[in-house]
């Protein structure tokens, strides 16, 4: 599976390319800064700096962009932990336990855990890519529209299951999210829910809606407080505590490994990406942990599971990009732009003809992950001082940054309007125990699910028994039914066994 000659050539390529090692730290820093600022997503950073890659050779250009990707992946966890505001959508599940840890004054530890999980997660993702690039690309090619639809459906049900006793409210939020996600022009050119506005042709701005649903509603609740961390004694910034959190992650090595594997595998599926990986890994860790009921109250395992998965999904998404020439998300789509700028076409042919470059990209990213650990520790020293800033200064700045960031993403008022509407909706939904995360997943997957369902319909000429005829989709369907039925059955058994 591993071509040793190409590996050796890759090492020579990396060693003889000083430009690559100059642009990687710069890329990491750019990614960290953009990831930390809510509203300014990693794809924005990659898009802003894409023109600079014209002045670099192909390898340096890709390493520069992946460095932004890696830095941003971790950077997004910083506001998620400190303010319950995911810097990127891939850090949603990081909020669930990271922010409660911050409120308890354990922000240093939480950030250390997230940094270690991100570093190891990135390494797992790329190491896996190195080993199984070719076989996994063959498997991904076998996933057709029915399988991709079922994977997305399973993701939705998993998230609804996260809501515990409010399962049906989770399903309702997911179904509403699916509908909102399909607003705009459909793949067959039909306009739905646009109210005649051309600004709505592309549908709802998902980044703005997600930030609104998650972040802004939390910001409104914080208006009552003076500081993020109520206890003055707990507001200290200590590099030793961050380092201890960093080392603590390795005591839960199995969690990092499992999260890394889940993320890498989910990342390989085009259109699913790091956000779903982050949530699926978290919910799986919660269901498997003997302390599952403590998740959501500041459990370190929650942070590890979420962060290891979103980081490793980057390596997974590179499978689709390198092996198939298909971008799995916005970040890899911009990388495909860099491919085009250097007259390179991704796909099976690219791998067979340029194995040394592919291995050099993988090797460069493995080193990049180690650099992230060092740079991240220094960066966190500055970032954590946020907890010392009174909220009367911090909250207006965060709100304006998210609003202006949403304008920058959509390039129109659709972004800020969506953000404000979603923020108010998020606030009301949280009040009535509707899990906003289920709506977010519906929003993210709506278009992809509709497209794949439509292709399935066309493939089968309207006969949906196709789901039962294909072995992979049949397996997925059985797994989906079990995933829904088992928790319900177990709940009923427990209720029967419990003494009156």
């Amino acid at each position: 599976m591993i071509d040793l000659a190409a590996s050796s050539d890759a090492m020579s390529l990396l060693a003889s390319n000083p430009m690559a090692w100059l642009v990687v730290p710069a890329g990491l820093l750019i990614g960290l800064v953009f990831g930390v600022l809510p509203g300014l997503s990693v794809p924005i950073a990659m898009a802003v700096f894409l023109p600079f890659t014209l002045y670099m050779d192909f390898l340096s250009a890709i390493l520069f962009l992946t460095a932004i990707f890696t830095g941003g992946g971790f950077g997004g966890s910083v506001p998620a932990i400190l303010m319950n505001v995911p810097g990127t959508t891939a850090a949603i599940a990081t909020c669930f336990d990271g922010y409660p840890m911050s409120k308890q004054g354990r922000h240093n530890e939480a950030l250390g855990l997230a940094l270690a999980a991100s570093t190891v997660g990135t390494i797992i993702g790329y190491a896996l890519l190195f080993v199984i690039l070719e076989p996994i690309s063959r498997l991904v090619l076998k996933l057709g529209a029915p399988e991709l639809f079922l994977i997305a459906l399973a993701g939705l049900f998993l998230i609804a299951a996260l809501s515990g006793k409010f399962f049906w409210r989770g399903v309702l939020a997911g179904a509403l999210g699916l509908m909102i996600g399909t607003v705009g022009m459909s793949s067959s050119g039909i306009m739905r829910g646009t109210m005649g506005s051309m600004y709505m042709l592309d549908g709802i701005s998902t980044t703005a809606a997600i930030i609104g649903l998650f972040a802004a509603s939390e910001i409104f609740a914080l208006v009552k407080s003076e500081y993020i961390v109520a206890d003055a004694g707990a507001r200290e910034v200590r590099i030793a505590l961050i380092a201890r959190g960093f080392l603590d992650a390795f005591r839960n090595w199995y969690l990092v490994l499992r999260g890394g594997l889940i993320g890498a595998l989910i990342g390989t599926v085009p259109g699913v990406g790091s956000t779903v990986a982050n949530l699926v890994s978290y919910s799986y860790a919660r269901s498997r942990s003997p302390e599952g009921e403590r998740f959501g109250t500041g459990h370190p395992e929650g942070v590890i599971a979420a962060e290891s998965a979103n980081s490793s999904s980057e390596g997974g998404s590179m499978v689709a990009l390198l092996a198939l020439g298909i971008p799995g998300g916005a970040g890899t789509a911009i990388m495909l732009g860099a491919f085009a700028m250097h007259n390179v076409t991704g796909g099976p042919r690219f791998i067979s003809d340029n194995k040394d470059i592919v291995y050099a990209i993988i090797g460069g990213n493995l080193v990049q992950a180690l650099l992230l650990a060092g740079m991240g520790l220094l960066f966190l020293r500055i970032a954590v001082t946020i907890v010392k800033v009174p909220l009367k200064y911090l909250l207006p700045v965060i709100t304006t940054l998210t609003v202006l960031g949403s304008y920058a993403v959509s390039n129109s008022m659709v972004g800020p309007i969506t953000l404000a509407a979603a923020a108010i909706l998020g606030l009301i939904m949280k009040h009535y125990n509707y899990p906003v995360v289920a709506m977010v997943i519906g929003l993210l997957l709506g278009r992809m699910m509709e497209g794949n369902l439509l292709r399935t319909w066309q493939l089968s000429r309207g006969d949906l028994t196709i789901f039962l005829e294909r072995p992979i989709s049949l397996g997925l369907l059985i797994a989906l039914c079990l995933a829904v039925a088992l928790p319900l059955g177990m709940k009923r058994l427990k209720a029967r066994a419990a003494p009156d």
């Binding site: 509403l176 509908m179 439509l454």
Partner: protein, 160 residues
């Protein structure tokens, strides 16, 4: 009064939210159907809407039963709020954000952002007008300038 507000933020409010969800579902499904009534167009929207309406009905019936039993009211807060921000801060902050977004294209991003930062600081207890003025000018103008100059995104402004 307190009891009434607890009902409004309890069962009655939940029923209103479910009514809003139902209204959106019916409107969007009708709009999609009017755009094209073929199966291909309604393949996902149709089942998602049907599932939503069934769940809305079930949840509404359950909530109506709680209201009839008198168990729907939101529980009183554990510690009674002592400041204006603690009592009314959350709804005012939500409304303020709505006003800010509406005002942005009307008065310019720069002016709207500066005023928003200043009012938010006052809401959260800042009283020294020199600090409010200085901070809101910096925190309001700097990001607008950065978006225009560093990201090269044109934004409507009054001063910058």
């Amino acid at each position: 009064m307190n009891r009434l507000s607890r009902h409004l933020t309890g069962g009655a409010g939940h029923l209103a939210l479910l009514a809003a969800f139902a209204a959106f579902t019916v409107w969007y499904t009708a709009d999609a159907w009017a755009a094209q009534s073929k199966v291909q167009n309604m393949l996902l929207i149709g089942p998602a809407a049907a599932l939503s309406l069934v769940l809305i009905l079930v949840l509404a019936v359950a909530e109506a039963r709680r209201i009839a039993k008198g168990t729907d009211a939101a529980p009183p807060p554990e510690t009674p709020p002592d400041t204006f921000a603690a009592k009314h801060g959350t709804p005012i902050a939500a409304g303020l954000m709505g006003v800010y977004v509406i005002a942005m294209p009307l008065v310019g991003f720069d002016v709207a952002t500066v005023v928003y930062v200043a009012v938010s600081m006052v809401l959260q207890g800042a009283r020294d007008w020199r600090i409010i003025l200085a901070f809101s000018l910096v925190a309001g103008l700097l990001p607008v300038w950065a978006i225009e100059e560093m990201l090269s995104i044109p934004v409507p402004t009054l001063v910058l």
